[in-house]
Amino acid sequence: MDYLVVFLVLVVFLQTRVTDLKRAVICLASQSVIIAIACFVIGFSHGNDIHAIMPGVLTLIVKVIFIPGAVYRLVNKLKNEREIVSASNVNYSTMAAALFLVMGYALVERLMPGSVGRDIVAASILMIMTGLSLMVLRKRAIIQICGLITLENGIYLLGLLMTEGLPLVVELGVFLDVLIAVVVLVILTSRMRLSFMTTDTSVMKKLKG
């Protein structure tokens, strides 16, 4: 489990550094792979029934194969578009992630000193906050989608640790929702490419007040 946390933190930091969209999607997929492995580890430590396997399998299908696949297909279509990339935002988001890691550990020390899943809680706080900062600081639509999934993964990991996952029906519903959310966002992004010729969300600033 410790190795998983280390890899997870590494991948999340990598996610904040990446500006190339394809690499960002691959980062997202590998992050979800780690979550899926964590699901299996926690699931099998509690029994062998369907509820032990289900979350891991669902994570593999939905978050490792389907979501990155859909986003990757979209990225392939975005060949020659107007680029507005600023390097400073990348550095800001990495720095923010570092801050969040420290904050996560400080929070865990304060709230539940010496508990078993300390590292996992800190990692999931890191993921939640980093996901948020990716959505706020970065302007590319694809990166924002990655941020959203990172946020969701973080919450999911925290839930996995606290309650060994939600009841089965709810779990299925949550996965369905994430799936639909990504489908909707992919539709929106491709429409955005058609009408704005770019997927940079900073061009959308007409609605105010």
């Binding site: 959203l148 919450i155 709810v170 519903g173 369905l176 909707v184």
Partner: protein, 500 residues
Amino acid sequence: MNLDIRELIYIILALPLVFSAISAVNFLGKNVLHWLNRLVATGVGAAIVMLLMTFDANIPFAGQYIYLDALSMWMLMIIGTLYFAFAWTSKAYLDRDTNKRYGYLRRFGYLEGRFYALSHIFVWIMMLVVLVNNLGLMWVTIEATTLVSALLVAFKFTRTSLEATWKYVMVCTVGICLALLGTIIVYYIQLSAMGSDNPLNWLYMVEHSKNIDPVMAKFAFCFLFVGYGTKIGLAPMHAWLPDAHSEAPALTSGLLSGSLCICAIYVLIRNIVILMPSIGIDFISGLCLFFGIFTIAVAVPFVVVQRDIKRMLAYSSMENFGLMVAGLGLFVPIAAQAMLLHMFNHALVKYSLFYTAGTIMEEYGTKNMMRIHGMMVQVPRTACFLLLSIVAILGMPPFGVFFSKFYMIYGFFTAEHPWLGVITLILLAGMLIGILYHILRMMGGQSKKKSSGELFGVIDSLTIAGLLIFSGIASAGLSEITVLNRLLEAAAKIVLGGVA
């Protein structure tokens, strides 16, 4: 025909689903589609009325996944009324929108089927929100409403609607994710306090809510409040609300404002009922009152400087949601009843307002209120409906909103928050001045821009008038209509934590 509650619920949940499947395939002719749409919604409306008659407000119905008590019945009634109104106004709206001469959808007449499919699915999911018995499933359905309605908001795929939808999905999904975190914490509380039976089942949790850990409960409540508060449109998290409401097609705006946001309030209420005994009323009440009144205060200045008519209505919705949340935070019977009544009145009146605003946009070809004048002369029927609905939403006497707002203010004074009551009254007066100023300017004067003539037809005029009259009669004669009165009292009791 004698149908029991279970069968009626199945009918209510089956009909819209079947219809949206049919209209998504899109093989029916347009007229058949319109009439089938009306038939389905009327059928669902009739089923809801029958349910209202057979259902005893004090005896909840519990199935494996379905739970129906007075509160959900009340919400179902609101959603059903709007669904009915939607079906009987949609033909007029779509005919205009697909008009060869000026309609937005003139090149996409075939999209009507898709619009119907999405709208009916949207209403269907909202009905699910109020019918499921499980806090987790409530979360799932609320998130699903966001996603389905996002496709509706972006239906015309113009630049501004894309911007609004992007913001809507991003802000609401983040908020709802925080609510998921809150739900997970609630589940954790349940596991540690009452074991793993009936996971997240609302009724079971309410019956065992005495032995909840207060610190964790407070923690959960904060996340739930922020999460569902985003969806309600409370002040610091409201950024998506005016955009989504103003850019959506008018019918969708009406449904969003009238029923979606109050579904989020409903889920928040369900969570509060569970957490209230351990957290204590003071904490919840303080948060609700502060954010409710803050929301009203934020909405007022934006209304005054607004130029876009639908954005103005969206800010007016924010004011009303703020008032509802503040009423929820008072925790006195009269305010709880007033809040529920206000949900009902606001939904009906705001739907007619958004529909009228959509008509005005078609008539004048602009959303800018500064360029619309002389409505009284050029489009008398539209002007009349606009004026009546505006007067209704501002809370003038003959209409329903007057009663609910009045009871709410009365609630402030009985709950010993007189100063908050005074502040709310001042803010509401500001709202009234701001909105009336804009609307009266549109009524009179000489228009530089010629309208394309009266577009209000017969059926939609009757529907809108029906909505206004229904809300007025139902609230004024509430004590005489036994069914509604008993239902409202029982629902208010559930809001205050007394489960029948």
